[in-house]
């Protein structure tokens, strides 16, 4: 490392101390209690600047490091960075449409089982690939798919199950994996909300054929914008990478050539023999790559992930203990059986007989500077974009509608201080006293 580079990095640490080092005391009712946010120290800034000083810009040493360490963390073979969790979902679904999967290829009109109460970009790729989402309802409390509805959702057209571990709570993986094996279905886990969650002591994101992850600032770790696809199988990983990288057949990293060793000695389609493999396209793909600078932030964040997971669980427990006396009026969050969630947030559903509405409660909390959020889209099918999509519903979506009308969440992220958590509970107490 040059002396100048060392000076720059040293200055970054000093700048961090100046700008972010001292956290002012929390002022209840004045300072916002965010539901989520980035939690970082000088390391993130250092690695970000270090990467920028390489000025390689596209994926390089930090991407390589992050992908290897992330794969190790999850216990999977294949992981590669993309530019968002939504892109990761798009790639995961698109991967299953590859002709190279032959009779398991997903084709237009094939069905994918999913849920309506969640985030739009879990479902959007299904629609975008001309597949038909089949919606099952969710449980109140854990907000995951009702497992008893899943088998009845399967038809001769069903080829995959794609669901999110919504807000950190693992869906019933035992049932899902059993059905996948029985009916030869693909499984995609949208693990964007659940990094670090466990099911039967195994990390979510490591069960399905593919899994997606998000590193948007609200999530367990951040790159700013960023995401990751993991794949169990080398063939799926190669296809997924192709969809990420313009649809090309080549798997060279950016700036590299002839990784396969056969750049000018293969024949594809009706191209001339030896057509440059770097420009052979085996899928109709996208460019969903991320920069090395994003990866650099991720490398620093990944080191903190175990402490983040623990903090989320502790914060969740604190809020739970503070609010359990209101369980006659509020449905408090629960984990699914055999799971140990790495909570994304604290979800509450206001009971029918509570005597107040969700909006009354959230308005009050917001007036006290406590950020709240609805459970993303609620019932997606009520949104303008999704109202007229080709789909099938199994049973009803009554709970999804309840989530739409009556559910919200507050934060449990590691950036919350004890004072902020205490203020949050105090505000709930204040509201409940007069309502």
């Amino acid at each position: 490392m040059t002396e100048t580079r060392e000076e720059i990095l040293s200055a970054v640490t000093a700048y961090y101390q100046e700008k972010f080092g001292k956290k002012p005391d929390f002022r209840p009712g004045v300072d916002v209690v965010h539901y989520a946010g980035r939690v970082f120290d000088a390391e993130e800034m250092l690695l970000l600047v270090d990467s920028s000083l390489d000025f390689f810009l596209t994926a390089n040493r930090f991407s390589e490091q992050f992908e290897a360490e992330f794969a190790d963390f999850l216990g999977v073979n294949n992981a590669f960075i993309v530019n968002s969790g939504s892109s990761a979902n798009l790639i995961a679904v698109s991967t299953l449409t590859s002709p190279s999967l032959r009779d398991r290829q997903l084709k237009p009109g094939d069905e994918v089982i999913t849920v309506a109460a969640g985030f739009p970009t879990t479902v959007a790729p299904i629609v975008q690939n001309q597949l038909v989402p089949v919606f099952v309802d969710v449980n109140l409390g854990d907000y995951t798919a009702k497992p008893e509805m899943l088998e009845s959702a399967i038809s001769s057209k069903t080829k995959a199950i794609m669901m999110a571990h919504t807000l950190g709570v693992p869906f019933d993986l035992q049932t899902v994996m059993y059905l996948a094996k029985k009916y030869n279905l693909w499984v995609i886990e949208d693990n964007c909300d659940a990094l670090g969650s466990e099911y039967e002591s195994k990390l979510t994101g490591s069960f399905g054929d593919l899994a997606s992850h998000s590193f948007y600032p609200a999530h367990h770790i951040t790159m700013g914008e960023g995401g990751c696809v993991v794949a169990k199988d080398d063939q799926l990983a190669r296809i997924a990478r192709s969809f990420r990288d313009w649809g090309r057949d080549c798997y060279c990293a950016g700036g590299e050539n002839n990784t396969c060793g056969k750049r000018f000695s293969q024949q594809f389609g009706s191209l001339p023999f030896g057509y440059d493999h770097k420009y052979v396209y085996s899928h109709i793909g996208y460019n969903l790559k991320a920069t090395d600078m994003q990866a650099a932030v991720g490398v620093a964040q990944l080191k903190k992930l175990p402490s983040f997971i623990e903090a989320r669980k502790n914060n969740f427990n604190d809020i739970f203990h503070g609010l359990e006396k209101y369980s006659d009026r509020l449905i408090l969050p629960v984990a699914t059986t055999n799971s140990n969630p790495s909570w994304f947030a604290f979800v509450i559903t206001v009971r029918e007989n509570a005597g107040f509405t969700r909006n009354q409660l959230t308005s009050f909390l917001e007036s006290k500077k406590i950020e709240t959020r609805n459970v993303f889209s609620g019932n997606l099918l009520r949104h303008p974009a999704f109202m007229n999509i080709d789909h099938r519903i199994v049973g009803d979506l009554n709970n999804s509608d309840i989530v739409t009308q009556q559910s919200f969440f507050v934060g449990v992220y590691p950036g919350l201080s004890k004072a902020q958590m205490d203020w949050m509970i105090q505000c709930f107490d204040e509201f409940m006293e007069v309502n």
Partner: protein
């Protein structure tokens, strides 16, 4: 494939097999990345600074067994300018950068297989062969050719595994000189006419070919002429 990593390695040992064929054993201070039998690495002679462009490199099959986590080995013959530079520059203690693992030349364990290896092409199979266990269910027939008897450098490994693995059999082909043993050794190049009669159900067998491009091309064609379904022929051909 597992996430490829770039690793600085030291050349611990160079074995000169004669006729410009060498085996390199590499180790690293960093943990060596896991790989699967049949995968390959890139080796660069020039320095590499992480964060910059990867230097010129060439591909080599990883000859060592994945279970050996403390070193990697490759075997190469001098055929072009890069391998000539390797021959000239590399000494015990030399530093090289490698990036790996790459490739999907995996041998499936769901049917009988024929492995056809020419020269250093055997290294695409050595990790697989080394990993075979006594209870391996399907037959593995290796047809291994080299210019001379001395250049059948992995014959000791193969013979050792034949003793342990009933499912494994091997035939050898040498182009020059007289074979030291008679049985299972043929003079001349590997030919499909010699292979096919030795396979019980050739149409239900998967064929894997690794070696010089011309050998791969000719044998692939010949197998198809012998009614072997092209989907049952996999090749490991590099430029």
């Amino acid at each position: 494939m597992a996430v490829p990593r770039k690793i600085l390695c030291t050349v611990d040992r160079i074995v000169d097999h004669g006729a410009h064929v060498y085996t390199l054993e590499l180790s690293s201070l960093s943990a060596l990345t896991a790989f699967k039998p049949g995968q390959f690495l890139h080796l660069a002679l020039d320095p590499y600074e992480p964060g910059s462009f990867w230097p010129e490199s060439r591909v080599f099959s990883i000859a060592s067994c994945p279970a050996q986590r403390d070193h990697l080995s490759i075997t190469y013959s001098v055929v072009g300018s890069f391998t000539k530079k390797m021959e000239q520059k590399l000494k015990t203690g030399s530093k090289v950068w490698v990036k790996y693992p790459y490739g999907d030349f995996f041998i499936q364990n769901e049917s009988d297989v024929v492995l056809i290896a020419g020269g250093t092409g055997i290294t695409a199979f050595t990790a697989y062969i080394d990993g075979l266990t006594p209870d391996h269910q399907h037959s593995v027939s290796l047809f291994y050719g080299a210019r001379s008897w001395d250049l059948l450098i992995f014959k000791p490994l193969v013979e050792q595994k034949i003793k342990e693995v009933p499912a494994l059999t091997a035939w050898y082909f040498i182009e020059e000189g007289e074979p030291n043993e008679i049985e299972y050794v043929f003079s001349g190049r590997i030919s499909v006419q010699t292979i096919i009669p030795k396979i019980v159900h050739p149409q239900e067998t998967d064929f894997y070919i690794s070696g010089p491009p011309a050998m791969i091309k000719n044998l692939s064609l010949d197998l198809k002429l012998h009614d072997i379904n092209p989907e049952h022929i996999r090749t490991d051909a590099w430029e």
